[in-house]
Symmetry: C2
Subunit: 504 residues, 2 copies
Amino acid sequence: MNLQTVHSILLAISYSQAFQYTELAQYVDDHQEEYVEALRDWVAVESDSSNIFKRPELHRMMEMVAQKLREMGGTVELVDIGEQELPDGQTLALPKVVTAQFGSDPSKHTVCVYGHVDVQPAKLEDGWATNPYNLTDIKGNLYGRGASDNKAPVLIAIIRTSTAFMWLYFYISLPQTITDLPVNVKFLIEGMEETGSNGLDAFILAQNDTFFSDVDYIIISDCGWLSRRPALTYGTRGNCYFFAEVEGPKQDLHSGVYGGTVIEPMTDLIGILDTLISPSGKILIPGIREAVAPLSDEEWKMYQDVEFNLDHYKNETGVNQLMYNNKVDLLAHMWRYPTVSIHGIEGAFSDSGTKTVIPAKVTAKFSIRQVPDMDPAVVKKQVTDYLYSVFAKRKSPNSLKVTMVIGAKPWLADTQHPLYEAGKAAVQRVFNMDPDMIREGGTIPIARTFQDVTGKSIIMMPIGGFDDGMHSQNEKISRYNYIEGTKLFIAYLNEVAQIKSTSV
Amino acid sequence: MNLQTVHSILLAISYSQAFQYTELAQYVDDHQEEYVEALRDWVAVESDSSNIFKRPELHRMMEMVAQKLREMGGTVELVDIGEQELPDGQTLALPKVVTAQFGSDPSKHTVCVYGHVDVQPAKLEDGWATNPYNLTDIKGNLYGRGASDNKAPVLIAIIRTSTAFMWLYFYISLPQTITDLPVNVKFLIEGMEETGSNGLDAFILAQNDTFFSDVDYIIISDCGWLSRRPALTYGTRGNCYFFAEVEGPKQDLHSGVYGGTVIEPMTDLIGILDTLISPSGKILIPGIREAVAPLSDEEWKMYQDVEFNLDHYKNETGVNQLMYNNKVDLLAHMWRYPTVSIHGIEGAFSDSGTKTVIPAKVTAKFSIRQVPDMDPAVVKKQVTDYLYSVFAKRKSPNSLKVTMVIGAKPWLADTQHPLYEAGKAAVQRVFNMDPDMIREGGTIPIARTFQDVTGKSIIMMPIGGFDDGMHSQNEKISRYNYIEGTKLFIAYLNEVAQIKSTSV
């Protein structure tokens, strides 16, 4: 009997079984190794969306996701979302978006689970203790690029869905254990999240009256907890990512032979980068800080209630001193104030050793995390105007080109919505405690688009641990978060099923 | 009959043949392709001395040089010069130094030819039009890393030496064409020049009373001409190469998740780098400019006489404007004033794409070309004192470590010495014109050591073209410079043989 048939039988069966959380949780525990193996297969794919040379891997990753969903009998589509324009004017096919549907019972709510399976760059020589594409279990932590951000959370949603069917498959002779999905589940899995979800906005706009028409709630399972306490996330910062390119000589020059005869692009680039941020971390670009919504008393109070240990955070980052020494200031600057980070310089000498070169063309990469009420279009103008003006004062014969390559908006939800109440109940059931209500310093660009385009209610339910090292060396997810997270998802869908339709 | 035997026979033959320049030059022309193939073999070895992972290639390169010299029947040694200490405290074997000796007739002068066979880093993706390790002939230019700096010049000296023997070998039945070396020739070939000739100073000190005891003159064949006119070089700048490392978090952090909570090492590093150089290229480190010997009237006049086309130089570099618009100022800043170049930053994000990372540890690489009367030990103190003081003002929780990893002295020779007169005569014979008397902005650290330790007279006879792109993408040597350079070397050794012993 194949899975398609199982699925058909299931759909024909009455959906009246009581919610069997304990049995499902036990089932998940029993199948833990299977789920780790599934994650291993996915982590092995270097689906780095920022590196155009890895695009074939990214395409392969999307096919694997589709295949996984197909195996469970879902209605799966790989949707072409067009091409990406590269800086040199060439185009590159975007990874397809995977959609899937399980169930279409009009008496049930329909949730759409959004996730991504692209990853940040990672190389062993960046300082990984293990091969970033070989999932490695060390003391119950599963190390690998994308393990926490965002492959395990996507797998969790798939596992929860498959649990309904696979359980039947294995225990077909024990009909009393048959369970079913308490809600209809749709999937929307993309492969460009780490670089700004290129092409997905257009997809959502185009599918608003079709794919999204019967969706009630959107569940985003990304980011991580803030402490050992589970969390629900109600806001993210946006991200404006800039390239500042200074070009001078037509090719790299020997610094001995040519040094002293040309104004070096690196000197110019360092000079303009140094005008972005003060030594104490203050943003110096005119207009940026003025646009930020003021911190309200209620918000201040909420931050007070969050479980957050400054000392632990300091130890975790390994810095000698944090930028702020009290919880509220630190959380506020982590979540709801903008920051500028300079990530690096392309085109200069970056290897070990002592090359004596005058790099001809150097491109700085920096980004601004932005928050309500900032607007990416305005930020773009503020940054480019400022840098061009600073550069002009240098009277350099070199040329400067500033471009904003990502402009993702921040997102903010209502923490009183039934979707969040359901989340609190699910956390209570699985972990026997209240979740922290948190925001996220990072960016889930699509959260804002879901809100603006579909008008649906959105919840962000993080699964990753607070110390997972997303985007960093030695990214991991713990078995605890992976497996308990799966149970949380099981409990959550059941809670969502209880939401009264008027609350939608 | 093997080459050893040929050599023995040769040594037994009277060295009384007249100098047969025309025949030797013709021989070189006839064997051009053979010499290009020899260069191809050498360029194929990625003998990058700055990259510790390429060390095996460097060892192989030294063996190839030794083998080449052995084939000609020279007395060849591969001399162990010890180990290199790495920043992490580990050690790595230095490439051996190759020495060779051809002839020991006390009635002849003895010259020592110094050269190096290590190269600067090069990767196709840096912007090379061809594979940098596959010598590629395009319109008479031979492209490849190390082609001009310094593999072809070393081969030229070897070819000149082999010409004496190989000619005999091929034309054994025509004794009237037998020629011989007019001087005894020694070779000293090293593999660490590009990173400061690590270990060679100690070697020279140790061998001063042995290898160097019977050497009259040292010929350094490195660097390039200044125009299409051949040149003799009488000075080089020194090089103090610095690492400035700023360290903060214990590992890279996600700029969204952590941005706003830590003072980022990149901000600090950019901040201190920006205090090194003014926008117009002026060095801002206190004390550096004050130490420079003033430009004399005689020097100013010499610079006036040099053939140098500012427009051509501007076109060659491709900049919109040079730092100075008159020949003397430009040459002075290229040759005899110090400069600071910032080469790049290790540890930051340097690939294409848009990684959102807060790099935990970033190391800037910059160097100061220094000139008489600067002293590397003083420069080291000036730079480190200055940067630590600038950094302290930032009150950063991060840590700074400044180290000087190369401290190579400048060198200056007397242009009236018979060794230079011999050079002028050789240039006249081969090219039918006077050479330009030039200095070199780059550094040949060992020139100064030869001067200080051995007390021998030194000449630098450049072979490379003015547009060879040493240390840059698409380095090349033209067939013209390679082949005519070989003839120049043939003519030069003959001129050196004429120097009266009292002039030594």
